[in-house]
């Protein structure tokens, strides 16, 4: 069986980025959980910082160029997606939303997704629920119940949450994504020309 494709979208803008760190850990947790189920997976990382100009250009021109075209292709053929954004001004980062804005509206329909966000303090934790989850619900993605928010303090040695520390939340989210990925048929990329109705069907529509 061919390896499943896990695509990581990281909206972090700094280098190094705690957003990327969370995204990588969610991807690792997913790959491990898939391996336990005997499912091989490969990970493709999409760093939005590298695509910033292409995203704005597509907003203006309507077509994807360069790395953005490759990223869109990867997402449309993904078996599972890890999407993580920093919190900017009480919501997802503008670049993250702009990237989602230029995705084909059906690109993530039915695709299992785990959501994550990073921020300075735990006071932003519900961004995953009130901003990210509705966005991916609109896209028709199959979002797992556990979303992971990581505040700066969560990266400390023990973290501030000793009831359910960050590594536990990451592991649980990875488990849930792996379960959904393993339960599905491998994703098949549907091209623009694969599902054109015959003209007789169009006439009768």
């Amino acid at each position: 069986m061919t390896a499943r494709s896990i695509v990581v979208v990281s909206g972090g803008l700094s280098q190094p980025s705690s957003t990327r760190m969370l995204a990588d850990r969610l991807a690792d947790a997913t790959v491990s959980a898939l391996a336990e189920r005997g499912v091989e997976a490969r990970v493709t990382v999409v760093e939005l910082r590298d695509l910033a100009h292409e995203v704005v250009d597509m907003t203006l021109t309507g077509y994807a160029r360069g790395g953005l075209a490759e990223a869109q292709e990867a997402l449309a053929g993904a078996d599972g997606v890890v999407a993580v954004t920093p919190v900017y001004t009480a919501s997802y980062a503008g670049l993250f939303k702009s990237f989602v804005d230029v995705l084909d509206k059906d690109a993530l329909r039915g695709t299992p997704v785990v959501l994550g966000a990073t921020g300075g303090t735990a006071r932003h934790s519900l961004v995953v629920e009130h901003a990210l989850r509705p966005l991916f619900a609109y896209l028709g993605a199959d979002v797992v119940p556990t979303g992971v928010f990581a505040a700066t303090d969560d990266w400390a040695e023990a973290g501030t949450d000793d009831v359910r520390p960050l590594p536990d939340r990451i592991r649980r989210a990875g488990e849930q994504l792996a379960e959904r990925v393993a339960a599905r048929e491998p994703a098949r990329r549907v091209g623009l020309y694969d599902a054109v109705p015959s003209f007789e069907d169009l006439l009768g529509a």
Binding site: L60, Y193, V196, F199, L203
Partner: protein, 392 residues
């Protein structure tokens, strides 16, 4: 192979002078551009159809009808005619009238437009764009091909015993293109009817154009109109030409940088590499456009956008002269030299279509009898006659 120009009729401030033409000046500029293209020897002039500022060409057949009287050889066309929001009955009438007035020196291109609110303004639902294009065009064809039409559909009030006048010139409807950038359903529609397909990808990479044209070609063959390489294909293009490449880049860049649609986006370097926009010398345009056939096969019509983004009329007329003198003759010759003998050189002309219809025995022997079952002294007088005709 035919080479022409198309205008979207945008009223745009010239960024180098800050001057903005008014609507009247822009309409007259479009007419001058078309007449100049005819005199210079270009093959086609096409006007867009828009119903919102900053665009002026809302009434294509008025404009093209005038041009039919003012020009000698140029083919008059559209880019595009809104098959979604126009009443197909009015399209049948208006374009048959244009066909008669121009002596068949016209064709037209169906499209769905690029402005969402046009749908609600004309009482339509944008989510029905494709079904509207399918149903309306099916009715339009019947109105041209059949003298008396009974019809009912989803989007328009039914017709009983309706005859669209004037009947098409010599009993043969105008040639129709279908234009779409990213809807394969429209390429399928063009292929189904054996109509032309024009991909106006002036803002898109050529690779996408090649996929769409290739899909149309395969479907054209599937529907039995000929081999895939014999399908009738047109491409949109965009150029700015001066004798030297540097002069072209220097002069066009301020227009490019703030142009509607793509301005403030990709650099001119990126955009000229990724889309058909070519800024440079005549030889550079020849090299670029003389190579597109490698990706889409031999095609019959190349259209250029040359009058947008606030370029002054004088510059546009100079562009026409350079195209007609230094670019098109070479491209035409090269295209003819490599064209396979059994692939059409041009889209079918009216004369070609009449000859084909006669050969197939498809041309009606006699004119429609001018029996009038409808007209009274007033419209209301005619209610009885209408009832009698529609009750079955």
């Amino acid at each position: 192979m035919q080479f022409g120009i198309f205008s979207v009729g945008d009223v745009t401030t010239d960024p180098t002078t800050g001057r903005t033409p008014d609507d009247t000046e822009r309409v007259r500029a479009m007419l001058t551009i078309a007449e100049h293209a005819d005199a210079a020897g270009l093959d086609v002039f096409a006007t867009g159809e828009h119903h919102n500022p900053p665009f002026v060409p809302s009434s294509p057949t008025t404009m093209l009808g005038y041009l039919a009287g003012r020009t000698k050889n140029i083919i008059l066309s559209t880019a595009t005619t809104l098959i979604t929001t126009n009443d197909p009955v009015r399209l049948a009438e208006e374009y048959a009238m244009l066909q008669v007035v121009s002596g068949g020196r016209m064709d037209l291109m169906m499209g769905r437009g690029n402005t969402g609110p046009v749908y609600p303004w004309f009482g339509k639902d944008i989510r029905q764009g494709i079904p509207l294009a399918i149903e309306n065009y099916a009715l339009l064809r019947r109105l041209w091909e059949e003298d008396v039409v009974d019809w009912s559909g989803k989007f328009r009030t039914p017709l009983q015993g309706f005859t669209s006048t004037p009947r098409p010139l010599d009993g043969v409807p105008p040639f129709v293109w279908h234009g779409s950038i990213r809807s394969p359903e429209i390429a399928e529609q063009a292929a189904y009817y054996g109509d032309g397909f024009l991909h106006n990808a002036i803002f898109w990479p050529m690779q996408h154009t090649a996929q769409m044209v290739n899909f149309y070609r395969q479907r054209y063959e599937h529907h039995g109109h000929g081999r895939a390489d014999q399908a009738i294909v047109g491409l949109g293009g965009q150029v700015f030409v001066r004798k030297s490449s540097q002069a072209a880049w220097d002069e066009f860049r301020p227009y490019f940088d703030v142009a509607p649609v793509y301005g403030h986006g990709p650099s001119m370097e990126d955009f000229t590499r990724e889309t058909p926009l070519t800024v440079g010398s005549p030889q550079q345009v020849i090299d670029r456009y003389g190579a597109f056939w490698e990706q889409v096969g031999h095609y019959q019509r190349q259209m250029f956008l040359i009058d947008h983004a606030g370029l002054p009329l004088k510059t546009v007329l100079e562009q026409i002269d350079i195209l007609a003198e230094d670019v098109v003759p070479v491209l035409r010759k090269e295209a003819e030299a490599r064209r396979p003998a059994d692939v059409p050189a041009n889209p079918p002309s009216h004369a070609d279509r009449v000859a084909a219809a006669r050969a197939a025995g498809a041309v009606p022997a006699a004119a429609v009898a001018a029996a009038d079952h409808w007209t009274g002294r007033t419209a209301e007088d005619d209610l009885d006659a209408a009832d009698a005709a529609t009750v079955r």
